[in-house]
């Protein structure tokens, strides 16, 4: 028997997808897409709709917490609940969706959530390398793979249950039945290489908020591509009127004030591909982010030409993301759209704010090329 609540649930999904009740759209909260930092702690996006109430602006509110630390100690991101209002339900378990997830698992969830197709590799298609992955626990195995914690827990359980455990002399001796071993599975991974070339406009009109969007978006792109390719390389190019290659840190923190010549970045990208990445064995993904304000129509023509003749023939997919900023005119995406209408391996996306990242990732990766 289907559950009664399925009706409510599908109604909720429809609202989230924007099909009905558009007046509620602005209350949809995607959940922070990335609560990362630290080891592998990831906040998973579960959309929710927050009906407006009279309530306190939570930033000046603060609260009471429990734990170690001197005054001034910073609380980890995600440690403070988004809003302070208590839920009037009967006692149920907490459901703050925060957990240790490996990036592989995260990519899997992401793929499921966004219905992303697995990526078709090019390059050495037939070359498959076996990869060993530890995925479970067995009762037999070689001593070198003994799972100490699980073995200990098992032994402790047994000794307490059988009454041989002595809290004063807490010696626990595992027997053969207690022992637990890591077990593995061999997975066949297609051997292929991929490189992501990130390009970003750092001209004066790209503010911190725009960069934050690029940072979050690139994190998810990395995560997804990494799950599909072994040995993903990333390269970073920033440009205003001239382009240069930088490291990751600089990429996200540079702010220039010059004008914008997008062609400079595309030229550098092309040179990079020619010198380092043989198209036969590399899967190449250039991503370009800008606010869409190019210097001149001339330069835009140069860009289109470069893309047509040089770049698109070599890459799996070229992606352009236009981040909305209060200054940019946003013309560039229109020009690209005109020039590449219907071209398979060009993905264009407009990202108006943080909430739009979700859909934008789908634009970029949903094609599966």
């Amino acid at each position: 028997m289907p559950l009664k609540i399925k009706q409510d649930h599908s109604r909720f999904r429809e609202i989230i997808r924007g099909r009905i009740k558009s007046n509620l759209r602005k209350y949809i909260q995607k959940g922070e897409m990335i609560g990362k930092k630290g080891k592998d702690l990831i906040t998973i996006p579960v959309p929710s709709i927050d009906i407006p109430h009279f309530r306190y602006g939570h930033k000046d509110q603060g609260g009471v917490g429990q734990g170690d630390g001197e005054p001034g100690t910073v609380l980890a991101p995600g440690a403070v609940e988004g809003d302070g209002h208590g839920k009037a339900g009967s006692g149920e378990g907490q459901h703050a969706l925060e957990v240790d997830l490996s990036l592989d698992e995260l990519a899997e969830i992401l793929g499921e959530e966004l219905a992303l197709p697995r990526i078709q590799n090019k390059g050495k298609k037939n070359l498959v390398t076996p990869k060993v992955k530890y995925s479970g626990v067995h009762t037999t195995g070689p001593e070198s793979l003994r799972h100490f914690k699980r073995t200990y827990k098992q032994a402790l359980k047994r000794s307490i249950a059988s009454g041989t455990y002595n809290p004063v002399v807490p010696i626990v001796v595992p027997t053969r039945e207690d022992k637990r071993y890591r077990s593995w599975r061999v997975q066949e991974m297609p051997q292929s290489n991929a490189v992501v070339i990130y390009m970003m406009d750092v001209s004066g009109s790209m503010g911190d908020e725009q960069k934050e969007i690029v940072r979050i978006e690139s994190f998810w792109i990395d995560t997804w591509l990494r799950a599909n390719y072994k040995g993903l390389e990333t390269r970073y190019i920033i440009h205003d009127a001239v382009a240069r290659e930088v490291d990751r840190e600089t990429f996200f923190h540079t702010r220039e004030s010059g004008g914008t010549m997008i062609s400079s970045a595309y030229k550098l990208c092309k040179e990079m591909m020619d010198s380092d990445y043989d198209t036969g064995s590399w899967n190449i993904y250039p991503f370009h982010f800008s606010d869409g304000d190019n210097w001149s129509a001339d330069d835009t023509r140069t860009c289109v030409n470069l893309l047509k003749t040089e770049i698109l023939t070599k890459v799996n997919q070229f992606a352009y993301g236009q981040v909305e900023s209060p200054y940019g005119s946003g013309q560039f995406i229109k020009d690209l759209r005109e020039a590449f209408d219907g071209v398979e391996n060009v993905a264009l996306s407009e990202i108006s704010n943080k909430d739009a990242i979700y859909n934008s990732i789908k634009d970029f990766l949903g094609k599966g090329s």
């Binding site: 306190y56 509110q61 603060g62 609260g63 910073v74 403070v80 839920k87 009967s90 969706l97 359980k157």
Partner: protein, 498 residues
């Protein structure tokens, strides 16, 4: 007790229930008959999304809760352990796939909750047949949907939800309004002091005095004409009685208000209630019910529930520790004048009068307190240090949350502030005929923290849709009085003295 109603429990679980129930009664807990039902994870998620009830009216927000719960379960992030409804008989749910030791723990915990529901004063006015009532509500709303359609009903429910927190938490216990008396039309009759002799009248009740009395009475009567007479916290009730609602709208608003009042005491006693249930599951499990082989799994799960994060108070943890603290204090006689006046740290630490009053005291406390009075009376400086409590706040410069202070007084004040009115701003109706134009004026009793402005404006929009005439609220932003008004089309702010 009727055995047949436990049909859902397997014979083994039934045995476990009997055993645990026996221990619970042995410790002096006193609860309604409790019916356990065994559900699969999907069903338990549904019931949890419905707030513990198997049947609610259709609304997308239950679907939202359900999605969060089931995603949490599927990704292995969270699992519902226990759920219990304040009802007579009480209903509680067990997750089918749990181990026996978990089921024992849940049952012990549940008996703690039901004892609390039955005995704590906050629940005295709650409907103990809420299970039926909720099902009735569901039927009524479904009938209305059949008549007017899903879309308008849902929109109205959304609006009502936006105002759901505007109730008067304490009203079930107090009679706020006197009986209506109909002497409004009678002329004002000033009675002075009684003068036995006619000629004394002028001395005992001189003219000025009589005039003064007349003025007072007139003022009183004018106040009565004010609408409402004095500020009214139960905004929902005010709308219900005075807004031009359709019949079906009134029906929905009134049942949602009833549900809000039903859930309110659970919010007012979260720390006590969870702490009480945890205190007893711990006692029952470790002293009576646990088998040797179950200890590790029990410890694992118990500690999971008690875990703390720096940025939030875990009511289970804070509650259980406070109950234990109280029991210990009254066992050792650490209370009263002598104890309060003792400054010698060493003497305080060694203090033990061997009174053994602890058990008696906690049963008394569970009857007469709610979270606010509980914290106010029993959270001591020693306890705050022991539990490493602190106050945190937002550092605008660094754009991050930081620990601010560990001083006991500040911690306690902040904690109490968070608990007052559920940590929600206090809003009252002050004028239902504002500026003599039938507009509705609310006031926010500002207590140092500003309202969230964008949310306040959107809430005004929802309020206006019910009141039909313009609505406004006075509050303070950055230390200045402000009146925000929405007239059905535009928002307007103006400065006021407030």
């Amino acid at each position: 007790m009727n055995e047949n109603r436990d049909t859902q429990l397997s014979p083994r679980l039934l045995d476990i229930k009997k055993e645990i129930e026996g221990y619970a009664r042995g410790f002096g807990l006193e609860f309604y008959e409790t019916i356990f039902e065994v559900l699969g994870y999907d069903e338990i998620n549904m019931v949890a999304a419905y707030g513990g009830f198997p049947n609610r009216y259709p609304h997308w927000r239950f679907g939202m809760e359900y999605e969060q719960l089931s995603k949490g379960y599927e990704y292995g992030l969270s699992k519902i352990y226990e759920m219990v409804i304040n009802n007579n008989p009480s209903y509680a749910y067990l997750l089918e796939s749990n181990m026996d030791v978990d089921q024992k723990l849940v049952m012990a915990h549940v008996f703690g909750h039901v004892d609390f529901f039955k005995n704590n004063f906050s629940f005295r006015h709650t409907n103990r047949k809420m299970m039926d009532e909720m099902a009735n509500h569901a039927t009524r709303v479904r009938r209305i949907i059949d008549k007017v359609g899903l879309e308008p009903v849902e929109t109205f429910v959304d609006r009502s939800l936006s105002l759901e927190n505007l109730i008067d938490q304490h009203s079930p216990h107090i009679k706020r309004r006197g009986e209506k008396n109909d002497d409004e039309d009678k002329p004002i009759e000033v009675r002075g002091f009684k003068a036995d002799r006619e000629y004394m009248q002028g001395f005992i009740n001189p003219r000025e005095f009589l005039d003064e009395q007349r003025k007072k009475l007139e003022e009183e009567r004018a106040a009565k004409k004010k609408f409402p007479e004095r500020p009214q916290r139960d905004v929902l009730l005010f709308i219900l009685e005075n807004a031009p609602l359709e019949r079906w709208e009134g029906e929905i608003l009134s049942l949602m208000r009833e549900e809000a009042y039903y859930f309110a005491p659970q919010g007012q006693t979260k720390i006590m209630n969870e702490g009480w249930a945890s205190f007893w599951h711990s006692k029952i499990m470790t002293e009576k019910a646990l088998k040797d082989s179950e200890i590790i799994d029990y410890a694992d799960h118990h500690s999971g529930t008690m875990g703390t994060r720096p940025g939030a108070i875990n009511p289970y943890k804070l509650g259980i520790e406070l109950w234990r603290h109280i029991e210990e204090r009254w066992n050792k006689g650490r209370f009263g004048k002598e104890w309060d006046e003792c400054d010698d740290l060493r003497a305080r630490r060694a203090w033990d009068k061997k009174l053994g009053l602890g058990r008696q005291k906690i049963f008394e406390v569970r009857k007469h307190y709610n979270d606010i009075t509980f914290i106010d009376e029993f959270l001591t400086a020693e306890f705050a240090v022991e539990q490493k409590l602190f106050v945190y706040g937002f550092n605008e410069k660094g754009n991050r949350w930081e620990i601010l202070d560990r001083e006991f007084q500040k911690v306690k004040r902040k904690l109490l502030q968070q608990l007052t009115n559920f940590g929600q701003p206090i809003i009252e109706v002050v004028d239902g005929n504002f500026e003599n134009r039938g507009e509705l004026l609310l006031a926010h009793r500002h207590d140092g923290v500003d309202l969230r402005i964008d949310y306040a404006k959107d809430t005004l929009v929802n309020l206006q849709a019910m009141w039909r005439r313009p609505v406004a609220i006075v509050t303070r932003v950055d230390g200045k009085g402000i009146l925000m008004r929405f007239d059905g089309r535009d928002h307007a702010d103006r400065k006021v003295d407030y």
